[in-house]
Symmetry: C2
Subunit: 158 residues, 2 copies
DNA sequence: TTCCTTGCAAACGATTTGCATTGGA
DNA sequence: TCCAATGCAAATCGTTTGCAAGGAA
């Protein structure tokens, strides 16, 4: 998906909802599109070279989340992380590195994903819940940290 | 698992690590054991009738988490939720109600769990991660909120 | 003009910490 | 005895908000 495409899809999506696609919001969408995994507000702020105050950034994120353009994740500590919604990126899951805090996206092949979906239904029904979303969060150690550790290097806390 | 058992297991676990099992820490473990799902610090504080200041409660949680007695979860917004570690409660997953914020535990039968474990390995290896933990977090609507909604009652935001 | 959006600074809520005091092995 | 644990108050951090100024339709 090219940046142009994303931009155009978001523009239409927002137009349908009478929400303006301002410069600030465009910049957020672009920054998210250039990122590989979920980003914290501070990450985005840095990535946009602080051209926009944090408070405005947060406001853009609130609007875009409300419009269903971005999704927020809270799994990792006290800081929220944001990424483009799945209708823009495709359905995927996250792996969290417990050593350096990095979060990566992973998507599954159709077979594995449908097996997972089956399990999700089982789990939810056991608790009497109806499912709206599911996300598999896997904690582990990324390859970088693993080699650093085995080399005796200090592990970076996060 | 009775409260006595938990108490005794935790006592030994902490003793092995030269960490004291003080009144405050005992109270936290007891409160967690009496709860059905992950609890926020404020929940616990209320449940313990505010006999202990919040700051001390947090300190107990930090120590217990560091010792592997308590596990913290951050999936739900800005407030952390705590529960006893899985070696005390058994492996399980969470379902989150997007309407009222409630979080319930669900455990799977051996067959389903091992199917899930297989998927987890696939996902992690795709990202070059080695797995240490996995948790399936399912977002949905609990039965209470579903019936409230269908009855036209106001949905409680959280 | 008329809203909506922005910037700035102040406010907030959850969590953490400094310091003097208390408590347990 | 003596270090670890506690209570209190103040600090911190991520995030939100009030208000006045800027911008687009």
């Amino acid at each position: 998906m090219t940046a142009q495409n994303i931009d155009e899809m978001v523009r239409r999506h927002l137009a349908d909802r009478d929400i303006r696609f301002t410069q600030g919001r465009k910049a957020v969408v672009r920054a998210l599109h250039l990122s590989s995994g979920p980003q914290s507000a501070a990450d985005l702020h840095a990535r946009m070279k602080a051209q926009v105050p944090l408070s405005s950034l947060y406001r853009s994120l609130v609007v875009l989340e409300g419009a269903g353009v971005v999704a927020a994740h809270h799994s990792q500590g006290p800081v929220a992380r944001f990424e483009l919604a799945e209708w823009l990126t495709g359905h995927h899951h996250h792996v969290l590195c417990m050593s350096c805090g990095r979060v990566d996206d992973v998507s599954l092949d159709r077979t594995t994903e449908s097996a997972l979906a089956g399990i999700v239904v089982i789990v939810a029904s056991k608790a009497g819940f109806s499912v709206s979303e599911h996300s598999l969060e896997i904690e582990g150690t990324c390859s970088v940290c693993r080699s650093e550790n085995s080399a005796g290097t200090v592990t970076q806390a996060f």
